[in-house]
């Protein structure tokens, strides 16, 4: 941005446009929003913890069934998706760095690379799901995979579908939010004085990454 007198003046006005009248300062508003986001993330963690507990209960009861059933999952695809999500976490962190240092171009690019990587994750997930459907591995009572007719095996896949499915929904939501942020970044809504939505969405995205960090070894690498 040009550093002429008028440009600086308008930049200053614009930099305060986001401040709500009931906050003393931008910093106070930012801290309040961030604490609120952490509270929301805790509810997300507790949502997923219910599924992790179900997983733990059944794995303790039937360890050998989990070992057999998990061989049906492709660890290479799971590993690929792990690296893809880790990379998307990096690009979100780089996007926040760009916002903090007023690099609008880098902000936009990093946000859209993140959306792209999330898309790659969902495409891999799509191929994994359709492959299983093709074999007759459906959740719950619709399980029809003749080669694994041991009891309890369908429960493993029900847990797999619910955990990866709800995680996948979070990835889709994240893609929507990050695309919207990308459009807003192009519009010039964010700068070093105001990037709260980028910061908060980044926190959400990292949490989605962390859930997958646990899902990968627990489901694919037994």
């Amino acid at each position: 941005m040009a550093n002429t007198g008028t440009a600086e003046h308008t930049a200053q006005e614009r930099s305060m446009a986001h401040l709500k009248h009931y906050f003393v300062s931008s910093d106070q508003q930012f801290d309040a929003a961030k604490l609120g986001m952490w509270l929301f993330l805790i509810t997300e963690i507790l949502l997923f913890s219910g599924m992790f507990v179900a997983y733990a209960v059944y794995r303790v009861w039937y360890p050998e069934v989990f070992a057999i059933a998990s061989t049906e999952l492709n660890p290479w695809l799971g590993g690929l998706n792990t690296v893809v999500l880790l990379a998307s976490s990096l690009t979100v962190a780089l996007a926040i760095h760009a916002a903090q240092t007023d690099k609008r171009r880098a902000l936009v690019i990093n946000l859209f690379i993140t959306v792209l990587l999330a898309g790659v994750f969902m495409v891999v997930k799509y191929f994994e799901y359709t492959h299983k459907f093709h074999l007759g591995i459906f959740p719950g009572g619709n399980f029809a995979y003749a080669e694994m007719n041991q009891p309890i095996v369908p429960i493993f896949f029900s847990i797999y579908y619910v955990m990866t499915g709800i995680h996948g929904v979070h990835v889709l939501v994240g893609m929507g939010v990050l695309s919207w942020l990308g459009v807003r970044a192009i519009r010039g809504d964010f700068h070093s004085g105001y990037y709260t939505p980028v910061e908060l969405s980044g926190l959400y995205w990292h949490l989605v990454d962390i859930i997958w960090i646990f899902l990968f070894p627990l489901l694919y690498l037994i």
Binding site: V57, L90, A93, F216
Partner: protein, 113 residues
């Protein structure tokens, strides 16, 4: 906002490299059968990765302590949820062959209506 910590790009890239290396490590160690130690090892690696993401990508290391406190409380309740559930389910023994008659014929409990 001047007070905000800006994590250097170099740090972010290093953390990413470590995260990918740990992913490779967990995939490798899963191939080696070390019996009961496989699960704790996999969870330790995943926990380390999660901690790196929380501390550096989510910048909790440089953040206001109140956010870390809230996060820690959330994790505490997850641990309570998990361990107390397993205290029940993991120590029930084999109840698979207990039929209706066996329960009804048991003296004492269940008879005092």
């Amino acid at each position: 906002m001047k007070g905000h910590h800006i994590t250097p790009r170099k740090t972010l890239l290093k953390v990413f490299a470590v995260l990918v290396a740990l992913t490779a490590l967990t995939a490798l160690t899963a191939q080696i059968d070390i019996g009961a130690l496989n699960i704790p090892l996999a969870l330790a690696i995943a926990g380390t990765k999660a901690l790196l993401v929380v501390l550096f990508f989510m910048a909790l290391k440089y953040d206001k302590p109140v956010n870390a406190l809230f996060f820690a409380l959330g994790i505490l309740f997850v641990v309570v949820f998990l361990t107390f559930t397993l205290f029940d389910t993991a120590f029930r023994g084999d109840l698979g062959n207990v039929g209706k008659e066996a329960i009804l014929n048991t003296e004492g409990t269940g008879q005092d209506e």
